[in-house]
């Protein structure tokens, strides 16, 4: 016998297990028997060495003489559940027939057991064993059966009554369920119906209360069947005055005589839709300019049911259009006048200048000897003024021509154009040193003739205002500015004071004396007009004596 200390330290689990008062069997997950308690062996009339290491159902097969034997099947199902779920599974009371050893006469002995199968997880959390614990309730069942024999009849009756009762209950349940479903179907139907009704109501109200459009329905013959507020407002009839009447009363007598109402319905019926702008007649006989759309309404079968008619009162718009047309005509007249004016200027204003210049020269040539140096100087000034006036007239005419001509847009390579303009300016014989830098690839959509005038002015200015520099630097390029692409000409010339920047683009505005830099002050005004005509804008940046940049976007 081990001493107390040994017992405390390492109890003999095997002995403890095998001697436990309950009926225990330990199975591996493949249902091999690996341990059994003495009590179990006793109850099942087996020997430990005869069952260990064998399969459970090898050892305890169903009784082949009992056709109702279901013990094995139930046990298998329960064990299966434990293997699947790793959860204990209690089985109902089972009848197992235990094989009697041959020594006791063989055969099977009837037993009633209440089994519980519990999983045993190892340290790693894996299912290691199933403990099959059984309570032998055979005696209890037998006692109950003995007592039960006498009550069998009453029990059976009661059972039948109970069965019927439960049957009735079940049927009642079914009926209740069917009723419930019917009710919910009814509620759903009601809800859908209500929804449809509301949606129709909403739509009707919407149509009814629209005030800006006359919305009405006509039957197939053109009789008004519905009428909204807009219709009342636009046409002047109240619903009760017009529903049931033919819609042709909205037309003038001439239109009715020409069959216009009938045509409208015919076209709508044929093409699905008819639209017209024209004068219509209100209830009070006044006319309004209407935009009318008639739509054929057909049912699912394609049968014509009537027409929807939407009418808008565009009288004001019509008046506005007429006013606009009138204004356009006035503008055109003004333009023609301007053209006539420019034409006359072109012819008449220059003729006196020719006389002034010509006869000044006559004086000079014919009487040069008799005039003193002061008179010679006066003549020179007269001729210079005439020349300048001639230039002004030409520039002004160009400016007005830009206003009068139509834009002819096409892709324009500004880079190539700038190069050509600059090389024309460079070819003028001069001693000047000009460094030119032109960025490639600036292609825009615009009028090439007008854009050439722009570049001629900007690059011409750059040449002009760098004339006092030992080396003129002139660049053409492009860059992003205010969210758009800008094209610019930059120079290192005399620049300008930004305080006067807003005056640069006005006609006849000059920031330099004519003696210093010649010019009429129309160039930048022309540039601005051309750019505005393209829908773009112009800008200028500079500082006195530090060069300037003139740019535009299109």
């Amino acid at each position: 016998m081990p001493d107390a200390a040994t017992r405390t330290r390492a109890p003999d689990f095997r002995t403890l297990f095998e001697s436990a008062p309950g009926l225990y069997l330990v199975l591996t997950p493949d249902l091999t028997i690996v341990a059994a308690s003495e009590a179990y062996l006793r109850a099942t009339m087996t020997k430990r060495e005869a069952i260990l290491g064998r399969g459970l159902f090898d050892v305890f097969p169903d009784n082949p003489d009992d056709p109702d034997a279901s013990g094995s099947r139930n046990l298998r199902a329960s064990l299966g559940a434990v293997l699947r779920t790793w959860m204990p599974d209690a089985m109902a009371v089972q009848k197992y027939d235990i094989r009697r050893p041959e020594s006791d006469g063989g055969g099977f002995e009837e037993r009633f057991w209440s089994p519980l199968n519990s999983p045993v997880l190892d340290a790693a959390g894996e299912l290691a064993y199933i403990i099959h614990r059984v309570e032998d309730v055979t005696e209890f069942v037998r006692l109950k059966q003995l007592g039960g024999e006498q009550q069998k009849l009453t029990d059976e009756l009661r059972a039948r009554a109970e069965r019927m009762e439960s049957e009735v209950y079940l049927r009642a349940q079914e009926v209740a369920e069917v009723n419930r479903r019917l009710q919910s179907a009814n509620a759903e139907m009601g809800r859908l119906y209500e929804e449809a009704r509301r949606s129709e109501e909403r739509f009707r109200l919407l149509v009814q209360e629209v005030k800006d459009y006359a919305i009405l329905m006509l039957d197939r013959d053109g009789i008004v069947v519905s009428w909204n507020e807009g219709a009342e407002r636009i046409k002047g009839y109240r619903s009760e005055e017009i529903v049931g009447r033919h819609f042709s009363r909205f037309y003038s007598e001439e239109d009715i005589a020409r069959g216009k109402p009938a045509d409208a319905l015919e076209i709508a019926a044929e093409e699905g839709r008819y639209e017209d702008d024209g004068w219509r007649v209100r209830k009070d006989g006044s006319r309004f300019w209407a935009n009318v759309v008639v739509t054929a309404l057909r049912d699912e079968k394609g049968e014509l049911r009537g027409f929807g008619k939407v009418t808008r009162d565009f009288t004001e718009r019509k008046h506005a259009e007429e006013a606009l047309a009138e204004r356009g005509a006035q503008l055109e007249a003004a333009n023609r006048e301007l053209e006539a004016f420019a034409y006359s200027v072109s012819h008449d204003l220059r003729a006196p200048l020719r006389s002034i210049d010509g006869f000044s020269q006559v004086l000079q040539e014919d009487f040069g000897g008799q005039l003193g140096p002061e008179a010679e100087d006066a003549i020179r000034r007269i001729r210079a003024a005439a020349a300048r006036m001639g230039q002004l007239i030409d520039d002004l005419l160009n400016l007005s021509r830009i206003t009068r001509t139509q834009l002819k847009k096409q892709p324009v390579d500004l880079s190539a154009m700038a190069r050509s303009v600059a090389s024309a300016l460079m070819s003028n014989p001069s001693e000047r040193v000009v460094e030119l830098q032109i960025e490639d690839g600036a292609v825009v959509d615009g009028d090439p003739q007008l854009l050439r005038i722009v570049l001629e002015n900007l690059i011409g200015n750059a040449f002009k205002f760098t004339s006092t520099r030992p080396t003129a630097r002139i660049a053409f390029g492009r860059s992003q500015r205010n969210g758009g692409m800008s094209y610019w000409v930059r120079d290192n010339g005399v620049g300008f004071d930004m305080a006067y920047a807003n005056r640069l683009f006005g006609a006849f505005q000059r920031l330099h004396a004519s003696v210093e830099f010649p010019g009429t002050g129309i160039g930048l005004a022309t540039v601005q007009r051309i750019i505005h005509k393209h829908g773009g804008s112009v800008w200028a940046e500079g500082a006195l004596d530090r060069g300037s940049t003139f740019g535009f976007s299109l």
Binding site: A342, S346, H347, R350, A351, Q361, A387
Partner: protein
């Protein structure tokens, strides 16, 4: 026909007439220069007027210098009538005017003008233009057969 080549100047502005004549003189163009003061007079001179007086009997000029803005019958109308008449259909007509309005240029050429010259304000340039004009139409150009 060895007749002297003449010029018909159609010009209403006496200053321009004087300056033009002076320019011819300065260029030593000594040909006879006939002056018509308005469009009607020009047509009279070339086609013979309604009066029939001496119209058409005189030989045609070598070239007509035609202003556009003229009293009575304007320049382009004069040109149209000259081109409509078989006698003057091929007559060289040079438009000599102040304007270079596109519409004038287009209509002038469309009606059969042989040249279009804009009178410069600068008298020296004008003299030069007249010199080239005279050289071309009176010397270089072969007139159409009459």
């Amino acid at each position: 026909m060895a007749s002297v080549k003449t010029i018909l100047l159609v010009e209403d502005n006496p200053d321009d007439v004087a300056l033009t004549l002076r320019a011819f003189k300065k260029n030593n163009i000594a040909n006879e220069i006939d002056v018509a003061r308005d469009g009607a007079e020009a047509l009279d001179r070339l086609l013979g007027g309604a009066s029939g007086q001496d119209g058409g009997s005189r030989p045609l000029p070598s070239v007509v210098l035609l202003d556009l803005k003229l009293p009575k019958v304007e320049g382009l109308e004069v040109l149209r009538r000259l081109r409509a008449d078989p006698r003057t259909r091929l007559l060289p007509v040079v438009i000599l005017t102040s304007s270079k309005e596109e519409q004038d240029l287009v209509r002038g050429y469309a009606l059969g003008a042989n040249s279009y010259i804009r009178k410069p304000v600068d008298f020296n340039q004008f003299v030069d233009a007249v010199r080239q004009l005279g050289l071309y139409w009176l010397v270089l150009n072969e007139a159409p057969p009459s």
